[in-house]
Symmetry: C2
Subunit: 514 residues, 2 copies
């Protein structure tokens, strides 16, 4: 079969995207009907005289966006069972409702920078991606987890047929409370623990409780944009307050009337600083005086490679102003969608009620399996293993940068799952590096593409690279920097082409770029 | 060991509750220290000279509230690792923060009627509970589920270590879109489907998108209180509009300016009516004219025992005003916490963005397993089996009521997982029946205790019993009504004691009460 696609080879839009967009248009217009077959990638590439890879990339995106699907041994089909007239109904809907948009609380402005969270659809152009927010896939304790899931489903499968406590199953809350004693110096009981679907849901609960129209919310600047946008959907007014290497600058809080202040004291996102004890005490004192709440997002506290892990704000709090949040996304995996809040007693009823209202609690099987995993000691052992693996990878990032780019300027590398690299002045800025790295299949991310907001409050922000590395093997890490160095060398060779091809290529070996 | 507990046998407060409260006081005051052992239930019952059951009930509640926990073969202990001074800190927090409460968006008023959702802590006094919202535990396809979970964890465990698409994994969305075609006459593609954590989260997403301070939201009256409270936490102003046996009375909508109208057209909760086709079309016409959104909660549509399942509002919608919601809580189990929304195209980006913001998507393993379950045909077969089981149980409720109380007056018994019983006039009202049933270990629920709101807009509301029955075996169902009949007979015998013990007791056999 043939399909009408007109490619403009002079367009700035890549050929893959042109193919993608024109197929979407065909589907939307009803030319390609639901259930209808598409040409194979081989046929389409020969029809269009483009590489098969180009067509495959377009198809992959069409699949991931839900337009088409592949049935093994049969072919590629337009999704669903949507007849032509339903499709034109949808188009009609768009027109008829568009004038109502302004009256809807749509968080659409965020669309411009893509999805606000950490999910990114697969990017086929990238082989080694230093994207933040990924975990080491092979580290997942699949074997143990399988055994524990089976045990849970064997003994207590009737709990799949029940509404369980919306605050979380008691076994898990109890184990978390016991874990926080030795690990974070926190004195809490199961009663204080509310199980949530990860950091994001914990922030949502706190925002839903505390933030209404025009509520002033202070965030560290720069910060994680997924949190800022969430406060805004609740009507909050986000006030950025700068951080230095010791965390949020508490004196700068005095300028504002504040209801909630959002902090990441163990490993500030994205600058990587650790809030000093002095700052912690000052922040608590300020909160006690002003009546503000501190939302302590204890991100990355499970991974400290050097120096002391400071006591959490929650453990130092004497007035009940700290809402503490942590998650198993880094320590087990984001696919689990589990985390926990420790709330002060006076917020406990409200938080439990609200958790019941927003989703009736988190899924039982995930909670039950995690409880078994924590109970039999596997969790502590797993964390220890991960910490060693991640430390090795951290070392590899350091040594690779040193090898190919000289003594590295890094921040936040003594803990956690990301660090902030300031490449040497001889290198182009972050946006250019990002583009260049892409040409050799390496995903590098400056602050704007790394889920960061208010990055412009950081000095030299356009020269910072946010490195997520824990999901990459040491070989992948080194290979990524080798290829980056190679691309830089090639680019230099091109721009200084008057000097001939004298600059050594270094795709296959180290080179010092000055 | 001994413990100071002073019981007042003349108090209106039950002995269990007195024991519970005094132990909580001891823990809060630090008299019973964290990790400290409690007397065994046998010892405490002999010390207090009350039945061991009374002590056990108090202990069960203390366990479920997180105060104490039982270690098999070792004893019962005060929870956590909370030293005395931390405890008194907590008490201090309560005092210091209490004056701030008024400035917090706390959904506390709902506390008065307990948790707003369908979770109820175990009630040891009840042996047979006709509570709404439970599923048949033995119906859970544990064996198949175990196999599919293992397959998922075997092949793709790396997806536990990834952020998956917050709108839901594509495989599942595709299967749901395909399922809705034949089963609900809906023409949708995977693109329109957003996976959510059950009905409650779907309602929350719609409310978060559309409802702000003072937004008028119409709800059927009576309705499910968990939904109404949720709209209120977003600032919504809930306007109750009455239903009749054909669903919401559309003409009564004309009186209001409305942004969202919440309906349960397949099986109205709690009255059990099915919205007629005429009403459906009138509602859609009204929405198209006024620009309101319809939130179609297609609750119980999987279980129709008699009559035709009418097309969903979504399938009849031509202007993109319907947000459709369904859940797997009844068809598989509430512990799964999975459901789905079908949103009009112009709301799609906003809904996906918001789902990413509120929890970064639902857990992967649940979604992947459910996709496998739907893909291999198990889901359809399971539904068919469930439908037959539930129909038998429905028949048993009908025949048991007829046997012990005469020809039953039931509503909503031709579909779904609940029905509304109007006991004969000779019987006491719902609240008294509830209390009487409790004395013989039977859980009966009038509208106020059945998660219902605006029940007073229903005629004879104080004489309605909301029967959840699908989780009870036919034997349990009959036994429940036998015991109720017995209790009624006993009560009658007591009140007419001047007539001697002439009224036959019927705890062990049927009796017609007139």
């Amino acid at each position: 079969m043939q399909i009408v696609i007109h490619l403009d080879s002079k367009s700035k839009i890549s050929l893959q995207v042109q193919i993608y967009e024109q197929i979407v248009d065909h589907i939307r217009a009803g030319h390609l009907k639901a259930g209808g077959i598409l040409p194979s990638s081989r046929d389409l590439s020969s029809q269009l005289r483009v590489s098969r890879n180009t067509v495959c990339e377009a198809y992959e995106k069409l699949i991931s966006d839900g337009y088409i699907r592949t049935v093994p041994q049969r072919g590629t089909f337009v999704c669903g069972t949507v007849p032509e007239d339903a499709m034109s109904t949808m188009v009609r809907k768009n027109i008829e409702k568009s004038d109502m948009m302004s009256s809807i609380n749509l968080p659409l402005p965020y669309g411009a920078r893509g999805l606000p969270g950490l999910y990114a659809p697969p990017d086929l152009q990238i082989r080694t991606d230093f994207r933040f927010g990924r975990s080491e896939p092979h580290s997942f304790p699949a074997k143990t987890w399988r055994r524990l899931v089976l045990e849970c489903l064997g003994g207590a499968s009737k709990r799949m047929c029940e509404y369980n406590d919306p605050a979380g199953i008691l076994e898990l809350r109890d184990l978390i409370a016991n874990y926080l004693g030795p690990s974070r110096g926190m004195s809490v009981t199961a009663e204080n623990v509310v199980i949530v679907g990860g950091f994001q849901q914990g922030i949502n609960l706190a925002a839903h409780l505390l933030v209404g129209t025009n509520t002033p919310v202070v965030m560290e600047a720069p910060c994680y944009r997924g949190a800022a946008f969430l406060f805004e959907t609740h009507g909050g007014r986000v006030i950025p307050v700068p951080v230095d290497e010791n965390g949020i600058i508490v004196e700068r809080l005095l300028e504002h009337r504040v209801k909630v202040v959002y902090v990441t004291p163990s490993h500030q996102f994205p600058t990587g600083g650790t809030m000093s004890l002095e700052r912690r005490l000052a922040l608590l004192q300020w909160a006690a005086k002003t009546g503000a709440y501190i939302l302590e997002v204890d991100y990355d506290s499970d991974f400290r490679y050097e120096g002391t892990l400071l006591p959490s704000l929650q453990s130092l709090d004497r007035t009940g102003c700290v809402i503490y949040l942590n998650s198993f996304s880094r320590s087990i995996g984001p696919g689990l969608r589990l985390g926990y809040m420790i709330v002060p007693r006076h917020l406990l009823n409200a938080t439990r009620t609200l958790k019941a209202l927003i989703d009736n609690g988190s899924p039982w099987l995930e909670q039950a399996t995690l409880a078994e995993f924590m109970k039999n000691g596997s969790f502590t052992a797993h964390l220890k293993r991960l910490r060693n693996t991640y430390r090795d990878r951290r070392d590899k990032v350091r040594s690779s940068i040193e090898k190919y780019f000289g003594q590295p300027t890094l921040a936040g590398d003594e803990a956690g799952t990301h660090m902030l690299w300031s490449p040497p002045d001889s290198l182009p800025n972050a946006a250019e590096l990002e583009a260049l790295a892409r040409t050799v299949g390496v995903g590098l991310h400056g602050l704007p593409s790394g889920a960061v907001l208010h990055e412009n409050m950081l000095a030299d922000h356009e020269r910072k690279i946010l490195l997520g590395y824990v999901h990459l093997t040491p070989t992948q890490i080194e290979d990524g920097f080798i290829r980056l160095a190679g691309a830089l060398s090639d680019a230099k060779a091109r721009t200084s082409s008057f000097a001939g091809a004298a600059t050594p290529r270094c795709r296959n070996g180290p080179a010092l770029l000055v």
